[in-house]
Symmetry: D2
Subunit: 433 residues, 4 copies
């Protein structure tokens, strides 16, 4: 690699609460961090609306991206260098892919992707390969370097070991976000001994494997992941905020399509509504922009839009009850839908079933959809063995999808008996039943 | 107190990384947290632009306000209750004042207050006393309760013990922000043994005092404060961002006054520019709104405004050199000013002297400006003694103001030799000399 | 309770790394801590020989006993007080039982109890009820107070809620030792959110139950326990030290019974060897005494005793291989035994099978041996439900005993080919096979 | 270096709560740790009797020695390697000196050295150079290697940079013990950002220096040291235990010299009493041995010896009052001495003035006794500047010795009015006056 500048004359560091310090020695990494596309990640929260449940979770994707980079740097520089199977000329490629893996994330990705049928991974590719500062920096390494970085992130790069460092069931991405999200939310669930895991990682031809002696640290990591999903990421209050956010986007789109005359025109949304977002439009989106609109729209004349925006901005969220999609419950839902209409509360926006689902760890199911690379243990005799075959704990939760359904609604509307009292009483009866 | 609802049937908790949990038992506190004026603090960062230096420092004033409340709650409920000098009927007043003490902060307060000559404390008063959700909640305690809360925050409340809990040289505000800012930035300087300090706090007629046996914990706190100021709060890179921010506001105001035709009109700034901000205008300001404008203004035709906004948004900050306001240096500054003009770099926006100054601890100087209440130690014999008389460490730094001056400038402009090469070489010579 | 002194005039605190501070307000607790029987716990390590594997694990049972006391104090004073089912007049009884629950532990309990067929619980009873300083302090509460404390610890006290605080599958004992042992060893496995668990504990008629909303914190605790057992408590290197310790005791006893003429007579062991230890003899035993003998015995003429003592004192431990008690392996063991004899290495002391076994959590099996009280969740509707019925994770490991067998031997002897080379080669072949 | 074995095939690690892991790659280090002289450090507490004040402080010198080694290893392998002034062939020498620097410490060093006029540094030299396992291991590196290691520890080694790594005012020894003692006691005072300090250390011809940019981390370290001395190391309760310990040793020596007939003969003390301790005798001493004697001596007929031993073993310590060696106070002391005699309380053992004194940081005073190497900052221009010239904080405490005097006595004896009531009342009057 003949990157102009090569190594920095003095190592640069970022103080980081999770990894203590992020160390940068390569000028290309320093330059990538300085691009405007990477700086934009400062304006996108790592956990979207989770800060409305866990007030500490205000950290950005910029934070996390540096963290993933640092983990990969340590695996390579402290553990892999000099070992069999590891090709050290892939180092810089790994570091860049680690740093940039989340580059395409937009504001409140989860909801935006769902409503506008986007995929942040497409935008990551587009930013790396398109007319951007990031692309210019990468091209200074070599003409085909951007393409290689993009391939690693897209998991199509031929060297599967490199791919597995960035994305597998025990990759640097997951390790960083579990530790980081635990740190900022203040929960203890996400903690595991990353130092130990790094020390027992070994390169193999096609993937990273874990020495058998480190199995318990991996078990602990899998349990952390399981707990973080159910305690933090799928927290019902966060999901309530997501539900409202989704409904705001739906309502704005519908109004726009209906020719509604906005006081604050959704200029930044036009191409989203039209389904033809180009890269430059996309890069203008961040959470400051979205929040600006939501705040302005609190004063729109459309009552649904303004109400939903007020709810989001001021955290007046929907309440929820358990909801299982049995026949009996579905019948109730139909009844509720009709009662909501009767009570002048539009069920399309105010009665929402939301589901969360996670597969804590999966063994190998070749060919099946959503196939995930399992974690392999390196036994003392050199053999590889799939994790769930060795670990009682992991076996117990392996391959078992857990799903949770909840029904969200605006309790304040329902309990406001100044209108439609009888209907609302009926609604309450069903909800509380 | 006859607040409707009184005590919550089940205590509510917020998971907090600094205090583990924030406990809420009083319904009035719960209701205050739910007001839109309080929720607005989620959109204002505790440390303004510091996140551009310490990427972890993305936490909001919402976080901090809950923290101050929790510290006061613990002092009262765990230490003061039942002790002489402590009037437990002031409890709810203290809790409310603690929670609301920063309510009037606007976006990037430091720069905004300086440029537009505002004072966030005036707005705190206005929000508590004006037509707001917060005021409505407080009035439900009693008609004069909002006024009392406002007085405690304004330090005019007759019970000086109550005032000193909220504002003194060792108040809950400072304890929370030191610990919290250290946590989020990841530096270790801000740590001290708050548990110990809380345990040795004692109520006296006019103020909180500290048992002599806890002096070392207080020394440690004073040292933490000293270090945090110079390592974090006055970090020269953060000050560079503040300098740019200030200049953006100046430029926008000037353009507006000159009748410049903005593509994105500074609607939210009109009353700031005019110097007649009313409460409702003010409450619409938050950092999402400001960032929205800055992002839009990157595309304004005015080159200075768009350049400064691009610098802020993409973190292309000014560089700096030491600058001491000696005669010799002032002569250099005058020379630089003229060279900048010659190089077509407007010195009004691009050559800025910035100063930081702190008084780590002050003993008592009655009548002098900026008088600060000293910390008193409660000696075993019941006597009170001013801290710096007992502590060698504190005495060493007491009353000594330390000031630091730096000169900021855009290195990229100066080192761009495509124009005005000779002039720029001269500038560099002086700056590096 | 009319304990002379009652409440201390000023609360006393102990700085504790795990709970930050241990708070003592009751004079009886303060006085108990000051007794010589309680101070003796400073000379008995919490984790026996574990410090030979994890060098940080040098903490004593004194530490842990204070910790259990503090947890119980917080459950009662912060959570239970004023709640239904909780009889606050049991408070002092609970505190005393918590503090004293491990009082009867001797040096290296595990091995001593096994070799000399003792039970530390019998000694705990004896110390509380016998002619001791502890008994004197307790009797000052009331004449029957020692008996009540002893009953709580023996689990025969009528109020089963009180018993379950001190001993159940989620008691203060376990919570303290997991956190404490994790802290001192430096492993992260033992961490769980105790704060959260304390907050969701509720008193019921017969036991402590856990609010359903805290289930995940309990899962995390169960997983911590599981990991600590296999990563720390059953660590094969620690077990190697235990094996040697056991063999020293066996050898000394045998020599004594054979009339061997000790240079350093095992005075402190006489009643242990004779199987008639009385309380005063027992209280003279601590780990300093035992280590003194082992150090002296390094110079005894009996080669086995001196060798084993040198191994223990200087940490020259046995090596190990996996050993499963299958027919095939048992045959090998018999062969090894005979080869050891042939190589002049006494298999009675130098070829040892050691097993560890744990049941991470057990549901309710009334009437079965080793029956353990299950953990019950308090559902929102007031119903109680056994933990493993709600938790997928706990269900997966519930009731499943895991056992591990290893074969220990002195590798240095075997690999010393200066004598019996051929036989030793055969031994190695079998061991490595 | 041609050490047989050279590098270990797989790096070994020790789990350490302070540094997470201790990494060992060099076989010589591994072998040194396995020697019986090094293992002996497990039986000597790092902080002597401090565990009687801070119950967590039960960690051994073994712990600390590994920690110092690890810090030096990280300085060399992560920071110094490849830098100017650093001769990498000194690496192994530094590591060995770091590991072994405290090897000569005996049980309760402070008191033993004072009473028996020993110096642990002499014994460190003797162990390294004498007929020991440690010496054998070191000689396998080269014949003169033990001598070089001894010289580094004795500060006579020609390469002063190497010496300053091991002993200076900011050496690995101090950094480890501050962090470690803070960890085990649970106090927060000892924390500072060691990571940062390591990163800014630079080798110079004669010593380690610190980059100016790291000055604040060094200030924080100096403050930590200051606080740890006064909060932990000189804690008056710990000093009370030391006073008693000293008096036990004095008494036993006197009795021995007087021909007293001990029930438990002080065999291990004979050469100490005689002032001719040889190395083999010395190596048999550890805290288990000493505690064994103290426990036995609780039953000696000599009332002073048995009383003092009971006090030490059961932690019935002396109380204290402030005592300043003014004329007035000295007169009181003389009066007290005579009153103690009158009350049949031997003042030689029961009335003790104890002083503690520390110099938190010293600038350079060449030629003066106790001269200490100052800390130099490496300025951006390459110049070296002594720390207290740059740091206001350090300057404030630099060169200022602080001393504290206390008078210790057995309060229980004094307040026992069953005998000598009038005399004792007078004693109390003077003590409380």
């Amino acid at each position: 690699m003949a990157y102009p500048g090569g190594q920095l004359s003095e190592e640069k560091v970022f103080k980081d609460p999770v990894h203590r310090y992020i160390h940068v020695r390569d000028k290309v990494i320093w330059d990538l961090i300085g691009t405007k596309e990477f700086q934009r990640l400062r304006r996108i929260k790592q956990l979207g609306t989770t800060y409305l449940t866990f007030h500490g979770a205000e950290h950005s994707r910029f934070n996390h991206s540096l963290g993933v980079y640092e983990i990969i740097r340590r695996i390579i520089d402290d553990v892999f260098v000099g070992r069999e199977h590891w090709d050290h000329s892939e180092r810089l490629l790994c570091l860049c892919a680690a740093l940039l893996h989340d580059l395409g994330h937009g504001p409140f990705s989860h909801s935006f992707e769902k409503v506008f049928r986007l995929d942040h991974e497409d935008f990551t590719q587009a930013i790396i390969l398109g007319d951007t500062e990031v692309n210019k920096v990468l091209r200074r390494v070599s003409a085909d370097f951007p393409k290689k970085v993009a391939e690693v992130i897209a998991k199509t790069y031929p060297n599967k070991l490199v791919v597995s460092l960035i994305s597998s069931q025990i990759d640097a991405d997951r390790m960083d976000y579990l530790l980081r999200d635990a740190y900022y939310t203040g929960v203890s669930y996400g903690n595991f001994d990353m130092e130990r895991i790094l020390r027992v990682m070994r390169p193999r031809e096609d993937q990273v494997v874990i020495k058998r002696s480190g199995m318990h640290a991996v078990e602990d990591y899998i349990m952390s992941r399981y707990q973080m999903y159910w305690q933090v990421y799928f927290h019902p209050v966060t999901r309530s905020a997501e539900v409202i956010l989704t409904k705001i986007l739906h309502r704005a789109k519908k109004l726009y399509e209906d020719g509604y005359n906005f006081q604050t025109k959704p200029v930044h949304f036009y191409s989203l509504f039209a389904g033809n977002v180009d890269l430059q439009d996309y890069l203008k989106l961040d959470e400051a922009v979205i929040l600006f609109y939501f705040q302005q729209w609190q004063d729109e004349r459309d009552e649904i839009l303004s109400d939903l925006c007020r709810r989001f901005v001021n955290r007046h969220l929907f309440k929820y009850v358990e909801f299982n999609p049995t026949n009996e419950q579905m019948t109730k839902l139909i009844e509720l839908t009709s009662l909501f209409k009767k009570a002048d509360i539009d069920p399309e926006y105010y009665l929402v079933v939301d589901s969360s689902s996670d597969l804590p760890y999966d063994f190998y199911r070749p060919g099946e959809e959503g196939e995930r690379l399992p974690i392999y243990l390196l036994m003392p005799n050199g053999e590889l063995r799939e994790l769930s075959r060795e670990s009682v704990l992991v076996d117990a939760i392996s391959g078992k999808r857990r799903t949770d359904h909840k029904l969200y609604f605006p309790a304040d509307f329902i309990y406001d008996f100044s209108t439609k009292r009888t209907t609302k009483k009926k609604i309450i009866e069903i909800l509380e039943g």
